[in-house]
Symmetry: C2
Subunit: 474 residues, 2 copies
């Protein structure tokens, strides 16, 4: 093929590619010459030349008075370069690229998912949910499709409000907006209370998506030290609030990602009171709240909010229905703004998964499922912590979170955890290196490990391998 | 209740509200005193006082050694003021508020939906889709949940690529990203090619959501005149491109909303060529492309794109599965950026609706459904146009779109279409007044009417009513 192909060569190459990739299959009729002229803006002569070229190459055949068809006995597909989709890593901070690669790696079932952000999908009642979805969809009245715009399905919101009420948190009737997972809820809440250029306080270390989202919304992050046991440092936070005009705090007071930190109740109250004095909204990411190892659900900061300043975000993705992308925001006095932003950014949340979950919740098995899930995660945490003690360098420090499914490891200070991550990936094991969790690459010898995959037989060997690699690096 | 209630009064009021609203139901056990202390950050004495107050009011009862329960024979619910969720209309342009109200009105099945943006839900194979969804969910392997992150389900993307290929448009393998409806696709594409403050060209009149989205992303809109028959004025567009640094064009070359304009093929080619000369990306909103009244699908501008500058956005919401919120972007050279932005804003699109549609497409009934849908919409357009001729003022001008399900009416110049809209709403009929479709309230005597509700027996009377009100206004 010439460097500058003619129009007909280009057309023939495009069709050939579609055939090679199986998009056009043996026996498929090609668009007519007239249609192709219209669609590609070329002359009939060009199309005839292109089709002639494809015939010569044996890819298509002409059938008299009928048109052109993909050759039944076409050659075996070859590996060919794809039309390039350029990468643009250079324009983004390294955290984004690394996080993106990490997410990509979780798509590969052959990789042991110690770096994944999700628990094992086998822990969830996927079949029961599917039955609930089928039942709910059979009963769907067409008008429900528009009535669920924009805030979400009424039954689902009613069930959620009931769960809040049983925790002693009464929500206003229109306070809940169902979102495309907690990620969208957090994005909408941030946009509701900030303008580009504003300062937002986050934890350090923090969930890497927070760094990406702030970057995307052109917000300035101030990281506040966060303790693996007690959560964000309130004195440090008070200092920031005194010094800077803070537009919002985005925190995870319950089972913080990556630390697993659980703020004691009194500190949550102090946090809410401190922010109320400054009139600063708190965006509370509570996606792990149901995954407690103790006997009862820790109250969210939202429970202590009497000013409508807490925007509480959560989802079913980590505790019931991964992949359903059903989350929500209970956004206090900002609820209407969040609903507007939802309309402008994705109009509404998909109805079938909402109906499936609403039906499932009414069947009454949710709390039983949660009990089993909590037990499985707590046991697995214990098990993996023992494995780490056995296989990792002696000076490794490990968190003991009271919920969630992450362990945060502080390796000996001379460990390069990013290099460790790359070596583990080469061995088919993903990890989440500490540099992911701060904009200024602070956690160089830290790792977050996912302990949410009980029953995955590859875990033991993977922990051993990562531990040995960590030991060898010193 | 005092103006500043004490802590226990506040707690009691909150619980009372939850009971009145049915969130706590007769016989439900209230959280224990200890739990409530923890959750609300109050002393046991406060909780006892609050529960005592609720007992006095007859709302709850104490059961010895068991706790407090919602009274079985509680008083009938009263209408009470809700905790206020403040409105913030004043901070937004009027178009947003009006659009929001209009969307809200479509939630009410009692309102005749002439202002709706959606066709009648009965036109869609909702039950067949539900069966497809149930089948696909039964077959779901847990690992599919993570493999569909972030770009979407592989089978669905493969089917979509095949449909593009059959139109003579070969897509790169990773070019498609499945989104939460076309609305999210458009948002992500805009963000991929613009920075706050940039100029974006839109049509005039334009889809009101475009105005909202640009406002949200702090982009500056330049409106270019658009002809009801031929689409955007290319000379005017060339003038803008010569004068201004334009970051992107956001256009609907096929069955434009609200005009229904279809750009002739040659003009689409000219458009793509013009933008390529200026290196300006085209965000092509093609959600109505399948709804043609003619014999074949008009090619999108994407068909003429050899530079990867056309970001083609569409969805199944208007032609197959309203409420499923399954859309996509084929974003050319910006595909990877769009995928990144998708990860940061909502991580991934819900899996069950994707699987349902993917299964449905493989069953082979889609094109048959589309043929029936097109026929129904074309017939209904004819029918309603006749009704308008009969019942509207004689100087009313009406478009004759070659697809989609909107009519654009230009009423006599002294008509106040916004007042007409409000009077129609008072009669239980929604319309979409022209001022919605421009930032500078240009279309004061225009209306967009939805003709996508064949079989709705209220349509005839509604058209007549709106026509009579329009006549009376002159």
């Amino acid at each position: 093929m010439a460097e500058h192909p003619t129009r007909y060569e280009q057309l023939a190459d495009d069709m050939a590619q579609a055939i090679r990739e199986g998009l056009l299959r043996p026996g498929d009729r090609l668009p007519s010459v007239r249609e192709t002229c219209l669609r590609r803006g070329v002359s009939p002569a060009t199309v005839f030349q292109a089709y002639g070229l494809l015939e010569t190459r044996g890819l298509i055949e002409a059938r008299p008075r009928s048109g052109f068809y993909v050759q039944a006995a076409r050659r075996a597909p070859r590996a060919v370069p794809q039309a390039a989709v350029p990468k643009t890593e250079a324009t983004e901070v390294a955290v984004s690229a690394l996080a993106f690669d990490l997410l990509e790696s979780t798509r590969d079932p052959a990789v042991v998912p110690l770096g994944s952000a999700f628990p094992g999908a086998h822990l969830f009642p996927i079949e029961v949910l599917a039955r609930s979805g089928a039942r709910a969809m059979r009963r769907l009245k067409p008008q429900q499709i528009t009535s669920a715009l924009t805030a979400g399905d009424d039954k689902l919101r009613q069930s959620l409000r009931r769960r809040y009420a049983l925790q002693g948190i009464p929500l206003a009737a229109d306070e809940l907006v169902i979102t495309n997972g907690a990620m969208e809820a957090l994005n909408l809440c941030l946009q509701a209370v900030t303008q580009p250029g504003d300062v937002v306080v986050i934890e350090s270390p923090t969930f890497y998506a927070a760094l990406q989202v702030l970057e995307r919304l052109k917000l300035r992050a101030v990281e506040v030290a966060t303790d693996p046991a007690e959560g964000v440092d309130l004195d440090a936070l008070a200092g920031v609030l005194a010094r800077e005009r803070v537009a919002a705090c985005w925190l995870m007071p319950t089972f913080q990602n990556p630390l697993g930190a659980l703020m004691p109740v009194a500190r949550k109250q102090d946090l809410v009171a401190l922010l109320a004095r400054h009139g600063v909204p708190l965006i509370e990411d509570d996606v792990y709240g149901e995954l407690y190892a103790d006997v009862r659900r820790p109250p969210p900061a939202k429970a202590f909010d009497s000013d409508g300043l807490v925007l509480h975000c959560s989802s079913f993705s980590k505790c019931l229905a991964p992949g359903y992308r059903v989350g929500w925001a209970a956004a206090g006095r900002f609820a209407r703004d969040v609903q507007r932003l939802k309309m402008m950014s994705s109009l509404a949340t998909s109805i079938p998964p909402q109906l499936a979950i609403a039906d499932y919740l009414l069947q009454g098995g949710y709390d039983r499922h949660l009990r089993r899930l909590r037990e499985a995660l707590a046991e697995e945490q214990l098990r993996v912590r023992r494995l780490i003690e056995r296989h990792f360098p002696v000076r490794t420090r490990v968190t003991r979170p009271a919920g969630g499914y992450f362990l945060w490891l502080e390796l000996p200070p001379d460990t390069d955890a990013l290099a460790l991550h790359h070596r583990a990936m080469a061995a088919g094991i993903s990890t989440a290196p500490g540099v992911l969790f701060s904009a200024d690459r602070r956690f160089t010898h830290h790792l977050r490990l996912n302990v949410g995959h009980p029953g995955d037989e590859r875990i033991d060997a993977a922990i051993r391998t990562v531990g040995e690699v960590a030991g060898a690096r010193r």
